[in-house]
């Protein structure tokens, strides 16, 4: 097929998706999208963390006949919530960091086996390729659901879920950077009579290490983002608070949580892109 024919085929697929969705009447924004949007924006416009400093110190909840049901010190409550958010952020970061490292370590031999320019036996490279493919195909959340059943609720399940899924990503990235390696340098070392182990450590490894480090930072950053939702399935971290806030309709707390997620990811991104630049 020519490139143009592929383009036409792509448009046909998009058309089919649109047509079938519209045909079944499922492509709709609901009955009152505009009001809903405004209501949501209103809910989000006052993130709960503001209450920690400027909230009412004595908020009374009364029943219809005027009886006081409950009195809250919003400042104290929201300060406690902020501490909880901080602890959860740390857990999320722990999950992402340890999960990524475990994934990279697991993927390293698999990447070496699958790289076509390294002399791994055929059966081994096939097996590694299949393993990496399966690991990429299954989403972190799915791994998480399975692992929660095995190791129980908590960050361990999160770490393992991240490791299982990211292993596939790392393996593919590692293999690709080895495959694009300039073999002249490797041949040059071999040509001095040095063994393939020497060639690996002196030529292959120093050439791919900066790329590996850069890819590690990239996937790590991705996993910081990914691990914020792992809590939804009970694997600990910010996701747990997000799921709580959603189920209790505490939109102002959800707003606080989203601000923290965005800040965390942006900070990590800023640091990692600086480090990546320094490495290359």
């Amino acid at each position: 097929m020519t490139p143009a024919a592929w383009g036409v085929a792509y448009l046909a697929v998009v058309g089919l998706c649109l047509w079938s969705l519209m045909g079944s009447g499922e492509l709709s924004l609901g009955r009152t999208p505009w009001q809903n949007l405004m209501a949501t924006v209103g809910d989000f416009s006052r993130p709960s963390f503001l209450d920690a400093w400027w909230g009412p110190q004595r908020l009374e909840y009364r029943s219809d006949d005027g009886t006081v049901l409950r009195v809250e010190n919003r400042q104290v409550l929201e300060r406690e919530f902020l501490w909880a958010v901080l602890r959860a952020t740390w857990v999320t970061f722990q999950i992402a960091t340890l999960g990524s490292l475990l994934a990279a370590l697991l993927a390293l031999p698999l990447g070496l086996f699958t790289a076509r320019n390294l002399p791994a036996p055929r059966w081994l490279s096939r097996a590694a390729h299949g393993l990496l493919g399966a690991s990429r195909a299954i989403h972190t959340l799915v791994f998480g659901l399975i692992l929660v059943g095995i190791v129980g609720l908590g960050p361990t399940a999160g770490i393992l879920a991240i490791a299982m899924h990211s292993m596939g990503t790392y393996g593919k990235l590692f293999a690709e950077s080895i495959e694009t390696l300039d073999m002249a340098a490797v041949e040059g070392v071999r040509a001095t009579g040095a063994s393939s182990a020497h060639a690996f450590f002196m030529a292959v490894w120093p050439s791919v290490l900066p790329q590996f480090a850069s890819q590690h930072l990239y996937v790590w950053e991705f996993n910081v983002r990914d691990s914020t939702i792992l809590g939804l399935i009970g694997a600990g971290g910010l996701g747990l608070l997000i799921s709580e806030a959603v189920s209790l309709f505490q939109w102002s707390r959800l707003a606080t949580l989203l601000i923290v997620v965005v800040a965390l990811v942006m900070c990590f991104d800023a640091v990692s892109s600086r480090v990546r630049k320094a490495l290359l």
């Binding site: 076509r116 320019n117 002249a184 340098a185 041949e187 040059g188 040095a194 182990a197 020497h198 450590f201």
Partner: protein
């Protein structure tokens, strides 16, 4: 691996008999008999794609001929058609040294490490030392000395990809000094160099060639006499010319480079097709 001392004194550096290299249907190189004595300085000339580099790749062990007998520094290998290409690559020997245009240095390693590499096989350094980049201090001193010999001692800690073409070539020479090869295969060693750097490379190569056998591929005819006492011309995969360099006539050179009859030029296999794997 090393040949007995007696034969080392009498054997030629290189001897090829009935060697054929084929790529698909076309014959890339065919050598009935070629003998190069120890200590000789030989220059290989010929048009692009004639088979000069293929000959080098046979001698270095990177390429196995389909047929024939190859003897390098007393180490003989026989090849025959059915199993020819499947024959596993022999272990490279530090006694055969290769130098091209300095493009085979490891870009991210500094000049000193790149030089050190030359001594790994000769000094039989353990692989874990390469892993930890922790080498015997004697070897490091030797590498510094080799760098000093090529005038690169001030660039010891400069990464190879930050060096100029001429500087890279000098580091490649330093690596060769470390390696102490008995047979040097120099593939267009001056191709990317300016006249001053060329002169320097030629004198370094000649210094290295003392006590060793030097084979050089060159395209600049002015260098033929400087780098060799004997000239071998290769044309369309055949040895077309073999004379002392003093007796090389202009008409012989002209015949060597004359355009071949259409459709008869053999294809030289690309580097990629033959060296996807390192073993």
């Amino acid at each position: 691996m090393s040949a007995p001392l007696v034969s080392a004194l009498t054997d030629p550096a290189v001897e090829l008999r009935d060697v054929t290299v084929a790529h698909g249907q076309s014959i890339v190189l065919q050598v009935k008999h070629l003998r190069i004595e120890r200590g000789e300085r030989v220059v290989l000339v010929g048009p692009n794609g004639a088979g000069k580099s293929t000959l080098f790749r046979i001698l270095s062990g990177q390429l196995c001929p389909a047929d024939g007998t190859v003897q390098v520094l007393g180490h003989e290998r026989r090849f025959s058609s059915p199993s020819g290409t499947k024959n596993s690559r022999p272990r490279y020997d530090h006694r055969v040294g290769i130098i091209s245009q300095g493009l085979h240095l490891v870009p991210r390693l500094d000049a000193l490490s790149n030089t050190l590499i030359g001594g790994l096989a000769r000094a039989d350094v353990a692989a874990w030392r390469s892993w930890l980049k922790w080498f015997p201090s004697g070897l490091i001193d030797e590498a510094m000395d080799a760098l000093a010999q090529v005038g690169m001692q001030d660039h010891a800690t400069t990464r190879a990809d930050h060096l100029s073409g001429g500087e890279r070539q000098r580091v490649a020479m330093a690596r060769l000094i470390m390696q102490k090869p008995e047979l040097i295969l120099a593939d267009e060693p001056t191709a990317a160099l300016d006249p001053a750097a060329t002169a320097r490379a030629v004198s370094l190569l000649n210094r290295l060639a003392r006590g060793a056998t030097l084979l050089t591929i060159v395209h600049e005819m002015t260098l033929v006499g400087e780098l060799g006492d004997r000239v071998i011309g290769i044309r369309q995969g055949q040895i077309a010319l073999d004379t002392p360099s003093g007796q090389l006539g202009a008409d012989a050179m002209e015949a060597l480079f004359r355009a071949p009859a259409p459709g008869k030029e053999p294809d030289e296999p690309s580097m990629g097709a033959l060296s996807e794997q390192w073993v």
